[in-house]
Amino acid sequence: MLETLGVRSMNDLLVDIPQSLRLESLQLPNGLSEFETMAQVAALAGRNRVFADRLTFRGGGVYRRFIPAAVAAVTSKPEFYTAYTPYQAEASQGTLQAIFEYQTLIAELTGLDVSNASLYDGATAVAEAAMMAHVHNGRNEVLVSGYVHPEYVQVLRAFGDGRGIKVRKDGEPNKKTAAVIFQQPDFLGLLTDPRALTAAAHDVGALAIACVDPISLAILAPPGEYGADIAVGEGQQLGLAPSFGGPHVGFIACDKELVRKLPGRLVGTAHDAQGRRGFVLALAAREQHIRREKATSNICTNHSLCALAAAVYLTYMGPYGLRQVAEVSFKRAHNLAQRLAALPGWEPAFPERQFLNEFPVRVPKAPAVLRKLARKGILGGLDVSRWFRELKGVVTFTCTEVNDAGALDELVEALAS
């Protein structure tokens, strides 16, 4: 190859790099065989403690769920995972169609008109939705109502800082409010009143942004039913492993009036000269590669492969499988909540509020209790006082279809001992 190029060495190709910048070598160890590499990586994995699915009662935005084998069987197809953003539509119909199906699934689930091709995570989805509201009505404040995931609010603040958008916690919306953001169920697992919150937003001309749990939508009224303008959320529960927090997938869907302000990729149908239906990237004029500094967002790629996992999961479950998963989780959580409340000194933190499958309990000596559970191989609930000072001693417990009846017994016995 050097001969074809008419040069003697690689250095002749690197002449544009100033000599003073050239390195001798990288300050890194030399490469390893596959066997040695895997041994080292596996040793690191071995230094982590993995709790059994059935004995994991911690949620807080990331949940253990049954993941059908079909999900990994599809996402591990190299035709999907080694392709890139479908710039050349004719050679990317598989990815484009999968995204189109994902968009339809999310639209169906949320009851809204249009979903995009996905975002990074629930937190950035909340932030992007707030930016949409700001662009839509030109207002500079967003109101976060109730217990929204604290990390989502932190990300929202960081996004808001860049665009001069203030984030206000609680209080009433007013004429300066671009959007009211609420979570249903909230970070503690409690049900809010999304109809009232949506109406309060609309009364002052603000948008209503509902951050929702996708599995809950098999049971609960979807944002489209109560008139929210934008629905966002974290899709990890739809077939993705916890993976220490990522990669997961953020979803965003909106009313058709707001579609031009949606961030990220959108896929639509188109036809070729023979009238065959295919799929293309649509409304690209919103995006950074066309609009540059005037784009609706800087997002370039999305979380396509995670969106594919979510699509396979939802297709596998179907409407009644999803409801079964949600109902089993509901029933077990309510069973557990009752048994935990019977422990000496334990009490529901918000007894008047309803919940689905995650609920807050006031626990005496919470840190010690959680440590004791860990010693018995149980990942107990989440101590939420690290974010909310007023919730000292409050621990949220989560139940899903993976926490079988025996696991519930083990948890209660461990606590009683």
Binding site: D16, P18, L21, L23, T124, A158, G246, D272, N335
Partner: protein
């Protein structure tokens, strides 16, 4: 051949999958929740059996080009082979099964991996610290600009402008604008490199940063980078490095030594985490000491051999993503770096540069080469010479698809008319490069003799060229309430009654 949608394949007779029963006593949602809180009818998800689902997705997979089957010389995207070992590593239960809110004591291996990856990236790009939180390249760009804004603000220095070359990726101006900056464009000179004269005229006390890719998007190394850095720093501004082109010089030189203050990296390009059809990626940002206080929280710190997450960072720009970033991608990138080592990474970049120059040489008389070589890891050609035959870069791209090659990036960078941006990467064999060059020669010959045939391509793919103009018109009609067809999603034909109520 096309594949029906899952919604079109759906059959109401299909039973839901077998799932566990609750096996405990407890209420059902409808027993305790008010009816207005409940969904009035089930979501319109398809109903398919597992064999139907698997066949559906397998057929869809077969409609894709991918690195696993095709040469994918997509300029600026670094579509190199994704080692399958990375996938095995990320799937280890010790990583995939970790809850992000486990106690630090129980995730020391994960934190150690993040720590070691940070150190390795510092060594590769020449910076002091790295945040692993950003989920993608554009997210990293924006994170870096937030840090630069915070740095200036901490010095009560009101700087409102970010300079971006006209050849830059679209994400650069978008990230700057979303970070609250006014974007000022800097022109490229005739040699394809940034014009120092134009840069000089645009730099001012208002300049917060210059965003630069080096090698630039034309695949050319900015020879005067040290002068550029001096000019930028002399005005009190910072120099930001867009790491899209990092694959060009690992072990050869480092952005930190060139004078860059903040550097983003795309783990999904240089460090072989798969592109996934458009994500997930990961876009860590490295910074020099001056910017360290502003890093997103938490950072991973080591004290007495014990690793902790440090959330108490008073000057931090805050959090840019939930939890700790795309951890699964960090595992893959770390695995790759470990396997390659310093020697392997250096060799990879040298091979990438060699491949690009070799391929450029093979096609330099077939297409126009607007700028003199040598190039770095990619080159930009122009199909402008086919203009007289009525053939455009897009036609060349579609004709390549018909010859089993994915197309290069076309019409970018914007400064080259009819641009064809080719990045072969180090993982392609000489034979592949030769066959690609041969395809270009055939296409160019065909442009001279039978241009109409090129306009009709692709012919061998599931669909021919799709009419995006009509599609856009249909979307407009929907958004303006003139049509019921949403185009952006499937909708049940109205003849089908909706499913029964819950």
């Amino acid at each position: 051949m096309t594949e029906p949608l899952s919604f079109e394949l759906s059959r109401p007779a299909v039973d839901p999958p077998r799932l566990p029963d609750a096996d405990v006593t407890g209420p059902s949602p409808s027993d305790v929740l008010p009816s207005e809180a409940l969904r009035s009818r089930p979501p319109g998800l398809p109903r398919l059996s597992e064999p139907e689902i698997m066949r559906h997705y397998s057929r869809m997979a077969s409609l894709n080009y991918s690195i696993s089957e095709n040469f994918y010389p997509l300029g600026s995207c670094t579509m190199k082979y994704n080692p399958v070992l990375n996938e095995a590593a990320a799937a280890l239960p010790g990583f995939a099964g970790l809850h992000p809110y486990q106690d630090e004591d129980s995730v020391q291996g994960a934190l150690e991996l993040m720590w070691r990856l940070e150190r390795a990236l510092c060594a590769i790009v020449g910076v002091d610290r790295v945040t692993l939180q950003p989920a993608a390249g554009a997210h990293g760009e924006w994170t870096a600009l937030r840090m630069i804004a915070a740095f200036h603000r901490s010095r009560k220095d009101d700087r409102t402008e970010v300079l971006v070359p006209d050849s830059a990726h679209g994400t650069n101006p978008a990230s700057a604008a979303l970070s609250g900056f006014h974007v000022v464009e800097v022109k490229s000179g005739a040699d394809g490199r940034i014009s120092l004269a134009d840069l000089e005229s645009k730099l001012s006390p208002h300049t917060a940063a210059l965003m630069l890719t080096n090698p630039n998007t034309l695949g050319l190394f900015e020879r005067e980078i040290l002068d550029i850095a001096e000019m930028v720093h002399a005005t009190g501004a910072m120099l930001y490095y867009d790491g899209a082109n990092l694959n060009a010089f690992m072990g050869i030189c480092r952005p930190g030594d060139m004078g860059f203050d903040a550097v983003h990296m795309n783990l999904h390009k240089t460090f072989t985490t798969p592109h996934g059809g458009g994500g997930p990626g990961a876009g860590p940002v490295g910074v020099k000491a001056e910017l360290v206080p502003f890093l997103p929280a938490p950072t991973v710190e080591r004290t007495n051999g014990h690793l902790v997450l440090d959330h108490k960072r008073p000057q931090s720009i805050g959090r840019v993503r939930s939890f700790y970033g795309n951890f699964g991608m960090l595992v893959r990138a770390y695995t790759y770096i470990l396997a390659m080592g310093g020697d392997g990474l250096s060799q990879a970049s040298q091979d990438a540069v060699l491949s690009a120059n070799y391929l450029r040489k093979l096609v330099e008389t077939d297409l126009e080469m607007p700028h003199a070589g040598p190039c770095m890891h990619e080159f930009v050609a122009s199909a402008h010479n086919l203009h007289e035959n009525g053939v455009r870069a897009l036609d060349v791209a579609k004709a390549l698809l018909d010859r089993q090659f994915y197309a290069p990036t076309v019409y970018f960078p914007l400064v080259v008319p009819e641009a064809i941006m080719v990045e072969p990467t180090e993982t392609e064999s000489k034979a592949t490069l030769d066959s690609f060059a041969q395809a270009i020669k055939e296409i160019v010959a065909q442009a001279r003799t039978d241009p109409q045939a090129l306009h009709d391509e692709p012919k061998n793919l599931p669909v021919g060229r799709l009419d995006e103009v009509t599609a856009a018109r249909r979307i407009n009609a929907y958004l303006q309430g003139q049509s019921e067809d949403p185009v952006l999603r499937w909708k049940a034909p109205s003849a089908n009654p909706p499913e029964e109520a819950c």
